[in-house]
Symmetry: C2
Subunit: 244 residues, 2 copies
């Protein structure tokens, strides 16, 4: 039996603002950022939703309450909802997706692909973001394959790969080769991610732009013409500021 | 009879680099910028391809020669080709598209929609960019409808609308209402466009970013949740520099 009102561990709900990265870049979106993660990437840019030391800021919210927040933020007008984290796949989000679909909302999930859920098939967009060597995490390719399989070709499934350096780039090529049917989005890493309590610390925009240029050069010299290269637009526009 | 090797008036051919705007943002692309335009927008950012005083820089190139340039730039690897201008619709591009398709290349055309061509149906992507009031041009909505009709639902057709101010925004809403089946991309205008011979003059990035923020606020307050809002990424990254 599927529980219709399970509790979701929420770090923050905000929006609508535009999606800053990946296949839906530029689209007005309400963001549900869940709390907790099975990974701990060296350059994590959402530690406030990942590290247990911030769990006092997280709230266990029943689906009813989460849905109510989304409806209020969107003024009852159907909108794209981004489910991110942390790793949102460790939360019971199936009932929320059902509720939203009934009202015409759409759902995109962003996950590293370490945890698979039956309800992936109900998503509109599944962004799989395996973590490259610079993250200091190990990739379980079988788990990522299981995520792709769970989607059953119903949602749009894409790979989004963060690239800091040559070895991340090689990893991105490997991921693309393993999942050759999935569209690939490459994203230059932010080596000056926000730190909880110090979000206003300045971002090294010049460094991010240089890495973007390097990545564009790599891709075009390699003639990897199917990959799309997109920066985190919200960082270019607004730095590390939260909630925009 | 269709001529197989007509001459095309070319301002510049460059790339591959990533597409900086619109639905293909981030995609490696070879750009063919044609010379000449039936419009003269007040804020034109490609005057070197528009104003007759620069026609000595344009070359009449047979399709064979244009195609050879594309093949060389792409190292024979199929890539997205952007046909822009000026207004590329005033050039005979059908034969080039046929040639490229035979080799697996794809073609996106960017035009204001003032001139319709039978070969629009052969494109992969048709970006219609009607010019708002700030351009000081008048829109012939029937011509734009004729462009949509010529595409016969074969290429992906989208609207891309530059917005400088409230009246441009109202115009964008009108365009979206007239063509309610087309995806809409809104783009904040660049009020410091490059001037031929003075391309290195600085861009008012702060101003562009402020306009972007204003446009995001407008769209989200209006709950226009289907519109995508994207800046000219190449301008954010590289200013007004040409050929990147």
């Amino acid at each position: 039996m599927i529980e219709t009102n399970p509790a979701i561990r929420v770090s923050e709900i905000f929006g609508p603002t535009i999606q800053g990265e990946g296949p839906l870049i530029g689209l007005p979106t309400v963001f549900i950022r869940t709390g907790g993660c099975d990974y701990r990437c060296s350059w994590c840019d959402t530690l406030h939703a990942v590290d247990n030391q911030f769990r006092h800021e997280w709230k266990m919210m029943p689906v009813d309450a989460v849905w109510q927040s989304v409806v209020e933020l969107s003024g009852t007008q159907p909108v794209m909802v981004s489910l991110s984290g942390g790793n949102p796949a460790i939360q019971p989000l199936g009932a929320l997706i059902d509720r939203g679909h009934g009202a015409g909302y759409r759902f995109a999930l962003e996950t590293q692909g370490s945890v698979v859920r039956d309800w992936f098939v109900d998503l509109d967009v599944l962004v799989l973001s395996p973590k490259p060597p610079s993250s200091e995490m190990r990739t379980d390719w079988a788990a990522i394959q299981a995520c792709v399989d769970a989607a059953q070709e119903k949602p749009q499934v894409v790979l989004k790969l963060v690239v800091f350096d040559e070895s991340d780039y090689a990893y991105a090529k490997e991921a693309a080769a393993r999942f050759s049917r999935l569209p690939v989005f490459l994203q230059p890493g932010n080596h000056t991610p926000p730190r909880p309590g110090n979000e206003d610390a300045s971002v090294d925009l010049d460094g991010i732009i240089k890495r973007m240029q390097w990545l564009v050069d790599k891709v075009t010299r390699d003639r990897w013409f199917e990959a799309r290269v997109l920066p985190q637009l919200h960082v270019l526009l607004w730095g590390n500021k939260r909630g925009v």
